[in-house]
Amino acid sequence: MSEGRFSTAGAAGTRLTISRWLLFLVLGAFVLVYLTPFYVMISTSLKSLDEIRVGSMLAWPETLTVASWAKAWGSACVGIQCDGVKPFFWNSVQITAPAVVISTLLGAINGYVLTKWRFRFDNIVFALILFGCFIPFQVVLLPMARVLGILGLSGSVGGLVLVHIVYGIGFTTLFFRNFYITVPSELVKAATIDGAGFLTIFTKIMLPLSLPIIVVTVIWQFTQIWNDFLFGVSFSAGGGQPITVALNNIVNSSTGVKEYNLDMAAAIIAGLPTLLVYVFAGRYFVRGLTAGSVKG
């Protein structure tokens, strides 16, 4: 189907143009609404504190300075530690990278089994896994804290990796299952007749077909885990915190002079990785978003 529909709308010329103008006016107003906070973040991060106090929120800085960016990255105080958000940025990288890879792999193999090697009650198994996507995580915080303690992973990057893998499986399995269900089962049957086993079919037939869904899943997981705050704030401590927690500590610190330009610079640094992924691979991000919601 073509984009948009009413190409043959037969209304008279002038009325059409007026409604067209109105249409763009409304769409443009919403563009402003959505972009203003981002604009304010960037312009504020480039202002000096004096200019922030005197000038308007919406004004572009008179003298551009990247001082607060440098400070946010390398020397701002997060709690008692004054090394900027840099170490926390790397914590987030260390948490996100393994958790994304492992949860995606598990999702791929689960989706493969659930669609191509069906067994009794497989639908129930899938439903049970899927339900994990929807729980409010408050309900697992207390036991998780204890289990991480028992495993010796309290407050560590490893503990958060484990948490994100466990609670990521639901979505990754959903994505791959819904994708593999569209791959013809005859393909698998034919391969079985040719003598290919379970793993050979997965690595030689299924995985090569899976590039699009792998991209969708990796982007989804990356965004979710990078942006996580609840698990980060519950299960990490001191120097092991992810960047979202560090950012919140900066923004909500009550000591000293409030440096808004610093807050904004730190926020942009924290948001940059997922924003870049969105700008360059937005199509796949949106597919994950709608797949995760519409096709429950």
Binding site: Y34, I135, Q138
Partner: protein
């Protein structure tokens, strides 16, 4: 042996994930639910005490504030997200050449953490520096906009930031729904002389019931889970004026040392989510089997 392995390999590779889900989702829910029936404070105790914590919960003003806030927030959040999402989706469905660019702009907040966007909103809504100051500088000296620090109105600032963040997402859901409607029906209506608003009101929107339901489920479940945005914008304050069950539970569990109470509030949360999600998942999985 080899044959047995070949036959059972699929289940064996699925087993670790399934075991993790059983323990970390269902086992943990059961543990939390059990603890909610005990008198656990700083440390868990396993002696059964019945509904003690639930009685305490309902005697707490703070819990009632949290429930009221959840109700107000959810209602407004869902309503505004749906209205804006539907409006934008319909407008974008009118053969707009720059649709791709507009969609990208409307949806980018979803790629960002609430902590990041909340930082921006905290600043924009700050009475001394943000909107209030900007409007006063335009000449409206008496303009006031101090909702962020007003216990009565602070909850609405969370609605504003929440709607801003999520309405583009709802637009994407609705746009997908609009695009899946059969063109023939609409063409037929045109030939019958129906005009555009009428076609939307009478034909397109009623046929999108499933899309509305999905959007509602997603939004309701986002609303119940709201945590990050409250923490960064108001930290539940002023006082506990903007507490919601998610922040209430966190405060009881990690700063007040009242595990039993925290478990009880978490149990209420999961029951609420289950009441919404289970019928939905059930009907989704069922309808798929019948396809």
């Amino acid at each position: 042996m080899h044959k047995w392995l070949q036959d059972h390999l699929p289940k064996i590779v699925l087993a670790p994930s399934f075991a993790m889900v059983v323990v970390f989702v269902y086992g943990f829910i059961a543990w939390t639910a059990y603890i909610s029936f005990t008198n656990s404070k700083l440390l868990p105790r396993y002696q059964f005490e019945g509904l003690l914590q639930y009685r305490k919960l309902w005697e707490m003003d703070r819990w009632h504030v949290a429930l009221d806030n959840l109700f107000v927030f959810s209602a407004l959040f869902i309503l505004f997200c749906m209205a804006i999402g539907l409006l934008l989706a319909i407008l974008l469905d009118q053969r707009i050449r720059i649709e791709g660019a507009l969609r990208t702009i409307y949806l980018y907040p979803m790629a960002l953490s609430f902590i990041v966007t909340g930082t921006a909103w905290k600043w924009i809504l700050n009475p001394g520096l943000g909107i209030e100051k900007a409007v006063r500088e335009l000449g409206f000296e008496n303009f006031e906009f101090n909702w962020l620090v007003d216990p009565e109105f602070a909850i609405y600032t969370i609605v504003i930031a929440g709607v801003w963040q999520s309405s583009g997402f709802v637009m994407a859901i609705f746009l997908a729904g609009l695009r899946s409607i059969d063109d023939e029906i609409i063409k037929a209506a045109y030939i019958d002389g129906a005009n555009l608003p009428r076609i939307y009101l009478r034909i397109i929107i009623p046929s999108m019931r499933a899309t509305f339901l999905s959007a509602f489920i997603v939004l309701a479940h986002l609303a119940i889970k709201s945590f990050d945005l409250i923490v960064v914008l108001t930290r539940g304050g002023p006082g506990y004026a903007t507490d919601m069950p998610a922040t209430f539970m966190y405060a009881m569990a990690f700063s007040r040392g009242r595990i039993g109470l925290a478990a009880a509030s978490a149990t209420i949360m999961i029951i609420t989510v289950m009441a919404i999600i289970i019928p939905y998942l059930y009907s989704e999985l069922r309808s798929k089997r019948h396809e």
